[in-house]
Amino acid sequence: MAQSLPRLSENRLSPLMDGYARALAARRARSLAYSAIFFVVTALAVLAAEVDLTKFFANIGNIGSYFDRILTLENGQRVWTDPAEWFWGWKPWGRLLLDTLLIAYVGTIIGAVAGFLLCFVASANLVANPWIRSSVRRLLEFSRTVPELVFALIFVIAFGLGPVPGVLALAIHTMGALGKQFYEVVENIDMKPVEGVSSTGASWAMTVRFAVVPQVLSGFLSYALVRFEVNVRGAAVMGFVGAGGIGQDLLEAIRKFYYSDVSALLVMIIATVVIIDLISERLRHRLLSMESAR
């Protein structure tokens, strides 16, 4: 095979090879410069984050032994030998998990409705006034940039301990995150129906209702489902700051070294999250196929 290609003569080959080497050298130099910047930044970050690899390697055995301990019951047996003992608290924990799911659900609904109402006002193709548009956008940006736990911390002081501040914190964050995704969907719609409806003399609200909403609803729903998945994870840690759900029990179990409880709670949380993800993925695929069938 190799013989079938005749070798180029030396005087034609050498300029090609030189050009190749030059191109390669330029690329190499650039990659080298980028790697140098990267290493400097990494070194600074290592200093700032007090990364101590000797401590890490001295304690690396702790990782194994920690997982060993959380998988051991108090009587020294492995946890799976006695599921009844392992999940002794399944009733209260199950109830807290349901609370967690409800926090995520109610928070997602409130946030999605608020984001839905605001997104049309933030869309450049529906609202010409830049002041209205950008003030709504700034509001959405603020509510998704401040971490939800910070809202939760503040709301816990205002509304008292319990799920209420957790729901409100998730709702505000969801409003910001979904509002942005929603107006991006709205800005990508087909404008012909909008022109058609507004040419009949319909008001702005009616145009939105009959020309925009039918185009965007399925996209909105699938974004809201993804956000619900994210919020289930978020609701699971709301308890860390006293804002309801299973987080409080998990925090206590980890801090007070109730080892087997830690693993039991983690297993329950992971299972819930995975199941919710699966269901939501199914629903989203169904939405997608409904959309393409139309």
Partner: protein, 296 residues
């Protein structure tokens, strides 16, 4: 408004043609009863669950009213944002740098670890499901646990401080990044791989020269996205003692120093906006140069 349209010439015309229009678009004038009932039932169920949630989680008008009143009391106290002393400002800025370092190292570490793992999870690279299935389960389980939970666990291993935060960000991102990486690998064009195979390349060169050049820009932009979102999560990781600005924030909220709180929140907002801007630029630069197939 409806009235105006209906009275106008367009409305009159439409009404005259109503019978014809109804015949042509039956599904718009009288949608099937069943699908309507299903939509209504779903909406009703969603609403019922929502109301049940309200009741179960202890919402009440009195509580909301009092809470909003209290919010109204202390939101004015947040203005103007004021760190009071220069020493404090310096302390806050230092912990902000720590926050960014946590996000940076966590993201880089996660990307470095997730890449080889994602090769095992991609159908196009590893044919046998024996490796693929457990790797995917690992990704899902690891990313099902929030960063804060990982932070608590790592604190038990390496002690309080930002290093635990780095490890927490890293662990929770390995799952999500690994999943995205393996999806990118599966979406890569097979032709380049076939080309490498045809020149006699083995499995390693197939991945190195056939797949990686296609997916690297996609992966880089995903990593940048994660860096942005990790800056946000690194700001709260301090609440459980894993370093960064969150420790100050939660403490100032607990002792009701509202001017300090608003100063810290503004610091966070500015940092996040700056990081988003830089990373957006970088992403654009990377994807702008990327081959068209990989960008899709």
């Amino acid at each position: 408004m409806t009235a105006r349209v209906a009275e106008g010439p367009l409305g009159r015309q439409a009404r005259q043609r109503r019978a014809e229009l109804e015949g042509r678009y039956p599904e718009i004038f009288s949608p099937p009863l069943l699908s309507r009932a299903i939509v209504l039932a779903l909406l009703g169920a969603a609403l019922a669950l929502f109301l049940f949630g309200f009741w179960q989680l202890g919402f009440s008008f009195g509580r909301m009213w009092r809470g909003l009143g209290r919010l109204g009391d202390f939101i004015p106290l947040m203005f103007p944002p004021n760190p009071e002393t220069w020493a404090r400002t310096e302390m806050y800025l230092w912990s902000l740098a720590e926050t960014m370092a946590i996000a940076f190292l966590g993201t880089v570490g996660a990307a470095i670890l997730a890449f080889p793992l994602s090769l095992f999870a991609a159908k196009t690279v590893v044919r046998s499901w024996v490796l693929r299935w457990p790797t995917r389960r690992l990704f899902n389980s690891v990313s099902g646990v929030d960063t804060l939970i990982w932070a608590l666990i790592w604190i038990n291993v390496v002690g309080l401080g930002p290093f635990a935060g780095v490890l927490a960000v890293m662990t929770s991102d390995i799952g999500a990044l690994g999943r995205l990486f393996s999806e990118a690998l599966e979406a890569a064009d097979r032709k380049a791989v076939d080309g490498v195979t045809s020149t006699g390349g083995g499995p390693v060169s197939r991945v190195r020269f056939g797949i990686i050049p296609q997916v690297l820009p996609v992966m880089a932009s995903q990593v940048l996205y994660f860096f942005e979102s990790n800056t946000r999560s690194a700001t709260i990781i301090g609440i459980v003692g894993a370093g960064g600005i969150g420790a100050h924030l939660s403490e100032q909220i607990r002792i009701l120093e509202w001017q300090q709180v608003s100063f810290l929140v503004i610091l966070i907002l500015v940092t996040v906006a700056a990081i988003d801007w830089v990373s957006g630029k970088l992403r654009f630069a990377i994807m702008g140069r990327a081959p068209a197939g990989a960008a899709a």
